[in-house]
Amino acid sequence: MSYQFSKESEVRFQKLVPQFPNKRSLILPCLFLLQKDQGFVDKDGMEYIANRIGAPVSLAHVHGVATFYTMYNKKPVGKYHIQICANISCYLAGSDVVTETACKKLGIRPGETKEDKSFTVEEVQCLGACGFGPVAQINESYYEHLDAEKIEQIIDQLAKQG
């Protein structure tokens, strides 16, 4: 077992523990800590979480939980994870053009990561910002009222930041 919480995650974990009378509730927040530390959730990390929380939580249970929720990346994603909403309100506002432009500019298809691991583009189901569409979530931030020009500018800016 090679993974363990970073210092920051350990502090966060200690704060979380007294908030729940049943320690099983720690699984979801712990998976987020794991993902924050290494960008995705893997078997080593899940095993560590199961051991840190202890019985009755098992690796199988943690794995079952992690695979149910879409926000846990089961494989590495690019440094910038561009998630574009494709559902009804964003579609009506032109999200298809935004996805197409982003993919064309990066030379990848939806769901793929650029070879240099800089960007991943994904279509997602509703980001809950329907009045401000088309919307993309890039890492922890929302980008609203997008169009082809804006998404190109954003990608250029992020690429410059490296």
């Binding site: 987020f32 929720y69 879409t70 009506l92 509703c126 329907c130």
Partner: protein
Amino acid sequence: MGLRKLLTTHIDHPESHSLSHYQSVGGYVSLKKALTDLSAEQIINEVKTSGLRGRGGAGFPTGNKWSFIPKTDKPKYLICNGDEGEPGTFKDRLLIEKAPHMLIEGMIIAAKAIDSHQGYIYIRGEFMKGIAIVEKAVEEAYAQNLLGKNILGSGYDFNLAVYSGAGAYICGEESALINSLEGRRGHPRLKPPFPAVSGLYSCPTVVNNVETFCNVPHIIAMTGEEYKKIGTEKSPGTRLFAVSGHVKKRGIYEVEMGTPLKELIYDICGGIQNDKALKAVIPGGSSSPILNAEEVAIATMDYESIASLKSMLGSGAVIILSEEADLVETTFRLAEFYSHESCGQCTPCREGTHWVKDILHKIREGEGTEKDMDLLLSITRNMEGGTTICPLADACVMAVRPTMQKFKNEFQKRLKVSDKPSEEKQSVVHAG
């Protein structure tokens, strides 16, 4: 009727999320009143008198929900459902980011009403900014003894924690949310027992929506009797409507219940984009059956009026579709959503939502036949009416079938060329 600010009075202020600003505009005065002057029964009675109905989707009377909590020695839990995720719905995000203390105040008052000493605010994981704002607000509240032990010297203790969802629409269903909060897959539970009897950690639990809790401080401040004067008799209060789609001014508008839908679209939202004709409106989130233009003309935004048109006010999400909208495509996108979000527990939902999506895809690509149309309607009949644990399958049906029935022509036009009812055939039928 029309615009009426109650919950959103101060949200345009850049510091509306801070404790100091909230207190400067009368925040937490209701809490003091509830903790020192009112008993738990009196709080519940005020909320019952107000007629407040849950703002999450089902519209169940809030005061009644609170009164179902049994008086036992078991811990009682209070949960805020901030897992907003239905396509078209984006109103709770505004309150989470702009009025977190209104939410916290409402929750503490509700906690006293049901004798709860531990609460959780469950927010959809994608709302990372909102989660950070609410976490900060909770810290501020603890620092001023608005949370924690002996709140404001009243002798009442209440702890509150923020919990992040992880990307599963189904967790907006209250029993799935409880499972998620318990560190499990977000599978809905069989009911009964209802959460009021056996919810979080098998203890009595109340789950309310963000907007519902935000109404509570206002009810306590103005009394239930006064609150009831806003809106209509059976749907009192204001409602936050999240308007999206083909409309000039998309956004979130707080209006009095009973406001005509046409007034919302044309007077408040500036009318249809590019001055096109209105084709249809989805009035309460993607799972509410679509209304055609004739129905829109007579609808008012309250539970009863929308129900009389065989639809639902639901989550307050209004999606406007102009004559330019491709209803085959929008229906396919909604079916895609429901098939993606089915938790997989019940066969009619797991298989049905995928099947519906696949057939709609076929029709969308011009490969569908009349038989597919019949099959689609037949499948949806097997997905509804209690064949599944939760209403996700019903939601998929409501998002698909009424559109196919009311706008049959649009679907037929997309069928395989050989299968389209020709104009000649149609005229023969009419002549006969």
